[in-house]
């Protein structure tokens, strides 16, 4: 039976009674990981803030990481910034007045396909999700001739984070004749470049400024690059900054200078005492929350 202020789940250990066993003591020795805190500090509180402060110190990473609620708040704010119109300010296409003779047939669309398109109320996110679902279902992108060789889950990882894909010949049709066929490298350029694709670096000479000109990739490689299928919308997004990058900069809420002090109640940053007073009076969330 576990006793005492152990803060992690211990496996349930129960001694089954067998005949002939000695009377065993009602405690067991357990291996305990992590630093042991002074039990005097830890009185079994459920308050996360107090537990954070007293039981174990946070690492730098934990301090930087935003809680889930803050993260949702940030994402909502970004979506707001990138939105064009708020549905509250609804703007409706007015009916064409006085269209002599062009009545409803033209307005609704001339063919069944266009009628569907004109009447559809889908937004961009609908179309995007439809496409992602399609790719996840069939494993290939619309317009490609066949599925890519490896089973390919549509992932939202930007391409920068994946390993480089080697397959580029997904077109399926032999040697597509393209409208703007690149001319072969002009003779003069070819003569200048070293014949092989490898870069020659002389280690013996200290001629950093005389590196040989790296070669342009050969025609076949360029064709392969050019024929690679276009990325999906999510794949083409810019990747998040690498983990070693500096943390995001925070600015003062009131005046816009660097944020230097953090409000204990709402987490907003201000730059100086004057701005902080203004924040406390008018803007702090303690007014609303």
């Amino acid at each position: 039976m576990a006793t005492g202020p152990l803060r992690f789940r211990t496996p349930h250990i129960e001694e089954l009674p067998t005949t002939g066993s000695k009377q065993s003591p009602n405690y067991v020795y357990m291996a305990v990981s992590g630093q042991q805190e002074d039990p005097a500090k830890n009185w079994g509180t459920n308050n996360r803030k107090r537990a954070r402060a007293s039981v174990g110190k946070q690492t730098d990473q934990q301090r930087e990481a935003l809680s889930a609620r803050q993260q949702r708040e940030v994402e909502r704010r970004i979506k707001d910034l990138n939105s064009d119109y708020k549905p509250a300010l609804e703007v409706v296409v007015p009916k064409r007045d006085g269209g002599a003779g062009v009545g409803s047939a033209a307005k609704a669309g001339k063919t069944p396909n266009t009628k569907k398109i004109l009447a559809s109320g889908k937004t961009f996110t609908h179309h995007l999700e439809d496409e992602e679902a399609e790719i996840a279902r069939t494993g290939r992108r619309d317009g490609d001739a066949e599925a890519p060789p490896a089973t390919h889950r549509a992932s939202k990882t930007p391409l920068a984070r994946r390993k480089a894909r080697e397959d580029s010949s997904l077109s399926g049709s032999p040697a597509p004749v393209t409208p703007m066929a690149p001319p072969p490298l002009p003779r003069s350029a070819q003569a200048l470049l070293p014949s092989s694709n490898a870069m020659e670096i002389d280690v013996e000479d200290d001629d950093d400024e005389y590196d040989s000109i790296p070669a342009l990739p050969s025609e076949a490689e360029m064709e392969a690059l050019l024929n690679a299928p276009p990325l999906t919308y999510n794949q083409a997004r810019s990747a998040p900054p690498p983990p070693g990058a500096p943390p995001p900069r925070r600015f003062c809420e009131t005046c816009g200078y660097w944020g230097r002090v953090k409000c204990m109640k709402c987490g907003a940053m201000t730059c100086s005492v004057a701005c902080k007073d203004d924040h406390d009076q008018f803007k702090c969330l303690k007014m609303y929350a």
């Binding site: 910034l81 939105s83 064009d84 300010l89 961009f124 619309d142 920068a160 900069r249």
Partner: protein, 468 residues
């Protein structure tokens, strides 16, 4: 869901003559750029200023006038206050075809007899359309666009491409190579940074064809900067959250990208309680950053304008009796300080607003690092062109060049240039390409072909996968 094979409304065999006029339509989220171009009888190069028209691509409703302005009708609007905008193009792609059709009708087809300069009278049956879209479009939207163009509007031919791909045909913005690019041929290596309304895309082009694995998109565009500016002004002075047009004008007049962010922020700081910085009255260096923007009231002042900051103006006006009382003309002044350069900074540091993304320079390097060969990377770094409306902000090109310069190796040549007219650059490229008959013949899909072969074939052709 079964889609119907497109049925012909008029019998048109594929041996019908190809349309002789080409309408180049750069369909952006903020504006349409439209103009005609013909394979040439004239020797004149297409001129972006005279041949193409810029039409706002939006439907705007004004609660004050109770009127709705569609597309080019916005030029008639007298009162831009509290205009609510609705854009058919969302995130760079045409999503809402009902609104887009309304805008196209009024701007391209001379609807309701508007015969003025902003409207082209276009006969769709005899015209080929060169339509642009944003890169990496979902296939559904591409199919919708093809169907609408052929079946609803009835164009004679279509070439749908990405806007950066057309830029390769435009004259090179670099002074050393400007003379050697004849019309109708694409430039060899070009890295196009399209800083548009919805987002910023980076597309490396090789002989006019994009290298798809290296295309990247940064989700910060002119719209994001305008919205961020709205938030900042609303938090600090007064609420402009519903004033889309006004804040757009403020952004165009007053915002710039600072070359040294930390220093500029220091200059504008008013100081803490115990550390008061000198305020503006003694001619110190923050005088040129803080600006008073005079707001339009659409009765006497039609368009706002900035002027250098004057701290005592309110006091003086009150003393002189200007603007008080019933008849006085009152100027409303908005003081803008560090918002001028903090708002556009999110293009270079999106983490300022919490977006998990590298800035413009970082995204360019991400795009280039997917290319296998160092020579190719250097070739692209030496030919960087910035287009798009957001690139008109002063200081953007210089800042991008400085950041790229400091990140890549010293021996690599880095040339960044902004196109002569960034808004119309793609249109100009399309116009020059359209003058080359051979290219057009290979690339344009005529109406007959569309009805014969179906939309999947057409889509693959535009992606470059199917030979003729």
């Amino acid at each position: 869901m079964a889609r119907q094979k497109p049925t012909t409304t008029t019998p048109l065999s594929s041996s019908a003559p190809a349309p002789n006029r080409t309408l180049i339509l750069d369909n952006g989220a903020h504006t349409l750029k439209a103009g005609f171009s013909t394979p040439t009888t004239t020797d004149r190069e297409p001129n972006a200023a005279t041949d193409s028209h810029t039409i706002p691509n939006t439907i705007a409703r004004s609660h004050r006038d109770k009127r709705t302005y569609i597309g080019p009708e916005l030029a008639d609007c007298a009162d831009f206050g509290e205009l609510a905008f609705r854009r058919p193009v969302e995130r760079g792609y045409i999503v809402n075809w009902e609104s887009e059709k309304a805008v196209w009708e009024r701007s391209l087809f001379g609807f309701e007899g508007r015969g003025e300069g902003a409207v082209l009278a276009c006969e769709p049956q005899e015209t080929s359309l060169v339509l642009t879209e944003a890169p990496n479009a979902p296939a559904v939207l591409q199919r919708n666009a093809d169907e609408m163009v052929f079946e609803e509007f009835g164009f004679g031919g279509l070439f749908r491409t990405t806007a950066p791909a057309l830029c390769a045909y435009a004259p090179s913005p670099f002074p050393s190579t400007a003379s050697s690019s004849p019309s109708g041929l694409p430039l060899e290596c070009l890295l196009v940074i399209d800083a548009g309304h919805s987002h910023t895309t980076i597309t490396p082009l090789y002989h006019g064809r994009p290298l798809h694995t290296a295309c990247r998109r940064l989700e910060v565009g002119g719209k994001t900067i305008t919205n961020q500016l709205k938030e900042l002004i609303s938090q600090r002075t007064f609420d402009v959250r519903r004033e889309d047009w006004l804040v757009g004008e403020i952004k165009e007049d007053v915002c710039y990208v600072s070359q040294s962010f930390n220093q500029d922020l220091e200059k504008v700081w008013r100081g803490g309680r115990y550390d008061q910085r000198s305020s503006t009255n003694d001619g110190s260096s923050n005088n040129d950053i803080v600006v008073d923007y005079v707001l339009p009231d659409y009765e006497t002042i039609k368009r706002g304008y900035p002027r250098p900051h004057d701290a005592g103006v309110n006091v003086r006006n009150r003393a002189l009796g200007i603007g008080t009382g019933a008849g006085g003309r009152r100027e409303h002044i908005l003081t803008i300080g560090n918002e001028r350069f903090v708002a556009p900074e999110i293009l270079f540091t999106p983490s300022d607003i919490g977006m998990q993304s590298e800035g413009l320079c970082g995204t360019v390097l991400q795009a280039l690092n997917t290319l296998p060969s160092a020579a190719l990377r250097e070739a692209f770094l030496a030919n960087v062109v910035v287009v798009g409306g957001a690139s008109l902000m002063p200081g953007l090109v210089g800042r991008l060049e400085a950041e790229l310069r400091s990140t890549v190796d010293e021996a690599v040549l880095v040339r960044v240039a902004r196109a002569g007219d960034p808004v119309k650059y793609a249109w100009l490229g399309g116009a020059r390409m359209a003058r080359n008959e051979e290219v057009m013949r290979e690339v344009v899909v005529t109406r007959g072909e569309y009805f014969e072969q179906g939309d999947l074939w057409v889509r693959r052709k535009f992606a470059g996968k199917v030979g003729r």
